[in-house]
Amino acid sequence: MTWVSNETLSLAADELGDVMLSMLSVAGIPIDIPGIPDQEDVTAMKGFILADAMDYMALDPARLEQEYNDILAASRHFTENPDAKSQMNTANAEIAANWVGTASDAFALQVQNVVAFMENEETYMWYAAQGVSMMYALAIQFRAAFHELVVKSTELCRALISKAVIPTLQWDIVLTEAAKAGLDLVTMQSAKDLAKWAVGKLLETVGAQTKSDPVAAADELAALNDYIDSRDRLKNSFEANLDEVRRWIMNRAGDLEDVAIPLKEPVKVGMDVDSPNFSYDDFYYNDHDPNVYAPEVERERTKYIEEKSNGLIAQRLRGEG
């Protein structure tokens, strides 16, 4: 995908500044910007147009494209890792088939919930990626719109300078509803489809949200005012669209805060050997009746805990035991 570069925007803004100043000079219209010393008016006027361009340079499509790819690659680590989920599913099946008791049930649920947790986080990573892709689409669209406005305004100024017939000029302003149209499409996707959802479709949707607008003026002062008015409307639309994306992302972040991590601390589900609450009855092999084995397990558990607390294992490893 190509986009209007910072350099192209700067050059176009610079050129408009020069041509507009020349037009006003030829027409004998003095430049007097309130609050600016007279000798700095010319520089300030060019600076204002360049500052307009810089608003759209604030979103860097190359950086956003990289971010989008990085976050999708990270999410795919779950989906395309053949082991991470399948091993948990197998563990769940093996534990559920062979081990009995409340703690083993809790453990089987825990590994099942690892998969559920991965799937939930994947979905939100995809949402994050789509948020980035919306910023990317807006960056491209608004750069193009501003560039077109500047180029057409330059053409209008040139025509006024040369007293030529004013051509019919149009530029495409991005509508304030552009982001909403794109986000509505993203939101309608199922979680499963989000990862592979094409950015191109988003660009197409946002790109369709434009309205052709004339670049026209009867005289030089009107040309200046026409640029200022068009520029203001484009900036308002830029801010409104970014705010729409911001609210959409904040809603996803809010939703995520309400989703509890489904994994439990092992100590709370009877899996802690060091806890007096641990019992063979709660985690036993299905062929090994706890009525027969539980006392032996409890004796060994007590010994094991004593050894650990007395550091006997460490002593033995040092050859002292």
């Binding site: 810089m54 608003d55 340079m57 604030a58 979103l59 860097d60 950086r63 956003l64 971010e67 976050i71 990270a74 999410s75 680590h77 890792n81 082991d83 991470a84 091993q87 948990m88 197998t90 563990a91 093996e94 062979n98 453990f107 825990q110 590994v111 690892v114 947790f117 991965m118 986080e121 939100y124 990573m125 949402y127 994050a128 948020g131 980035v132 910023m135 830029f238 801010e239 970014l242 705010d243 911001r246 609210r247 992302i249 904040m250 972040a253 995520l256 991590i261 994994l263 601390e265 092992p266 100590v267 899996m271 050997v273 060091d274 084995y293 032996e296 397990v297 060994e300 558990r301 094991y304």
Partner: protein, 95 residues
Amino acid sequence: MSEGFQTNVGELEKIANTWLPNAANALRVPIAVLQDHTRTQRPQEVPAVSAVERAYGLLTERLAGRLTRGAELVDETAVSLREIATLYRRVDGQG
């Protein structure tokens, strides 16, 4: 414990020593990407751009925090299961 636990405990050990650590590692992989937020270098401050990037940063930070905690809980689960396997091996006279 005449029948022994060897085969059965091996199943627990495989899950504790290999599969759960794999899952914890998988959860940790995206964290660095999520913490490395997008902040476009820009020639001038644009409040609307900063606001949307802050929102994005909040979402990704929240995701990174959840994955970190999730991985810790998977690690703790692996340790607990390893301890159970060790205990059962001891009962079986193999520990």
